[in-house]
Amino acid sequence: MSSRKPVMHAFRSGPGTYGLLVILSAIFMVPLVFVISIALSSDSTVSTGQLTILPRDWRFDNFVRIFQTSLPVGSFIVNSVIISVTSAIGQVLSSSLVGYAFARLRAPGKKALFLIVIATMMIPAQITMIPQFWIFSELGWVDTFLPLIVPQFFSNAFNIFLVRQFVTRIPYEMDEAASIDGLGYFGIYARLVLPLMAPILIAIAIFTLTAAWGDFMGPLIYINSEDKMPLALGVQYLTSTSQELQTPPWNLIMVGSIFLSLPMIIIYYFGQRYMYEMNLSAGSAGVK
């Protein structure tokens, strides 16, 4: 082969390596190809259970027909966008403020407070689920987006931690220079640190967007009306509300699953370098 430095054993690849990679990739891809095949199937193909891995029909009109069912699929999508975008805005605003304060401002009790922040990461959501439901129903927020959105404006421990780790990596001399130039703490935060924080804030936005978009349990607990459901809950609803006692419309359900999945793949594609930034920030303390 090429006459350059020989590759060390650990990194040497042979036909076996490629064989394994091809087989593994194929196994991972089969369910996705299958989804597309079912999404393109006609109603009769689906109802008679003739499912093939490669498409047998090419019913692209399924992608239009999903909007013509008895369920408001258009609203599902709009609701998901509203909930996840607002959640992302809330997390970015609050965690940037809190994380910056923990990284840069001095105050008595800060260390103890930060320890509490870290400790709260250990509390599983199930512990607070029932009391939160009580709080939100007392407030009359059940069957609105508020229980899903409002808590996001109070930041969460992991995001605070990420921002704090990130800001500690920004040289402190920049703050000092800015303060000599007459900027106050809020000015330093808004004009200097906030723009520098952009990579980690984009990562947090992506992370929150993805989590809120895919969240199932939250909407399941809080949303009852069909026209307020986000897509993750609505698609599942398609399986349980087929009008007659017939097989669920699997072709349309798979179209719905594609609608649910595709934005996540697109966001990942454009945002992967920021997600890496997040791993880095988390890794600087999380891994060790």
């Binding site: 054993h9 650990a10 499912l51 401002l105 978009w213 791993n279």
Partner: protein, 323 residues
């Protein structure tokens, strides 16, 4: 895009931020202002912590000692919920057993699969980026879609899994309706998303000093030997991190069970969080549900503590050699 070397970032974790500065005994006015601003800046977290975490936690402890349907006032029953759960509930032990079974098998298996794939991708291969994307793609699919997709994949007659099995002469089981196969089915489904772990592992592999491999090469170590003597020990911090996250996540499995099996057949796939959900939001046993949440919390903590306790024996930190 290639993965950037984590260790190459200048000053990572070494910048002496102002975090560690001790506050002076008497505060000058500008320091008072700074402190006040600090509390103002963190106030969203403080309010959220009190309203959505600490308050609810205390309320949840109280509720776990009561009987409460969320409509009438809670009635104090002492330890009854816990005693009933641990000694008298017809399914609680089965549910905890199922959850532990799922966690104990799916977490190590998923970690092994992602490590195996990461090691393949760490070799000098062409189309590396393509393979990495294909393997990672399932991890991006929202869990609701995953569950719906696998309802098809597991279809007993025409599903691709049983079709593939029939090619080699095996008649596949009715995965989701068979008490013996429903948990393996859920584990299989979790493995489909195991590619998610490869990204962090690849970043970790990228950070392993090449000299270690050169030394191993000179000693005549095979690729297998280099993996077990260099790659694996150097990666243990990342593996440990994945283990902790995996334990916490798998004990909280919910949507898959809720959508695919509803806990059936005969509670063979019922898990802790779906049971908690049923008790609280279907039967309105809020006190009983709170008790389940606390027991689950203790179990997760116990397994996490166990992982930490054994970590000294197998997790390898760079600093241990240097100091």
């Amino acid at each position: 895009m290639t993965v950037v070397d984590a260790a190459a970032v200048p000053g990572r974790g070494t910048v002496p931020g102002p975090a560690g500065r001790p506050p002076r005994a008497k505060m000058p006015p500008h320091r008072r202002k700074e402190a006040l601003l600090f509390y103002l800046f963190i106030s969203p977290w403080v309010i959220g912590f009190l309203a959505f975490l600490l308050g609810p936690m205390i309320f949840s402890i109280y509720l776990s000692f009561t009987e409460w349907d969320s409509f009438t006032p809670p009635r104090w029953v002492g330890l009854e919920n816990y005693i009933t759960l641990l000694t008298d509930d017809p399914i609680f032990w089965k549910v905890m057993g199922n959850t532990a079974y799922y966690a104990i098998i799916s977490v190590p298996l998923g970690m092994a699969v992602s490590l195996f794939i990461a090691n393949l991708l760490n070799k000098k291969v062409r189309f590396r980026k393509l393979f990495r994307t294909l393997v990672y793609l399932p991890h991006l699919i929202p869990i609701v879609a995953v569950a719906l997709i696998f309802q098809m994949v597991f279809a007993p007659g025409a599903g691709p899994l049983n079709q593939a099995l029939s090619l080699v002469g095996i008649t596949g089981p009715n995965w989701l309706m068979d008490a013996a196969w429903v948990k393996p089915a859920l584990i299989l489904m979790s493995l489909w998303q195991a590619g998610g772990g490869t990204i962090l592992l690849l970043a970790g592999m990228n950070g392993i000093p090449k000299e270690l491999y050169e030394a191993a090469e000179i000693d005549g170590a095979s690729s297998m030997r280099q993996f077990w003597s260099v790659t694996f020990p150097q990666l243990t911090p990342v593996i440990f991190f994945n283990l902790i996250m995996g334990i916490i996540g798998s004990f909280q499995v919910f949507a898959q069970v809720f959508i695919l099996t509803g806990g059936g057949p005969d509670n063979a796939s019922q898990m802790a969080v779906p049971m908690l959900f049923d008790e609280a939001f279907r039967f309105y046993h809020m006190g009983y549900g709170s008790a389940i949440a606390w027991i689950l919390f203790v179990v997760i903590m116990a397994f996490t503590a166990l992982a930490f306790a054994t970590s000294g024996r197998w997790v390898f930190y760079e600093s241990e050699v240097r100091s």
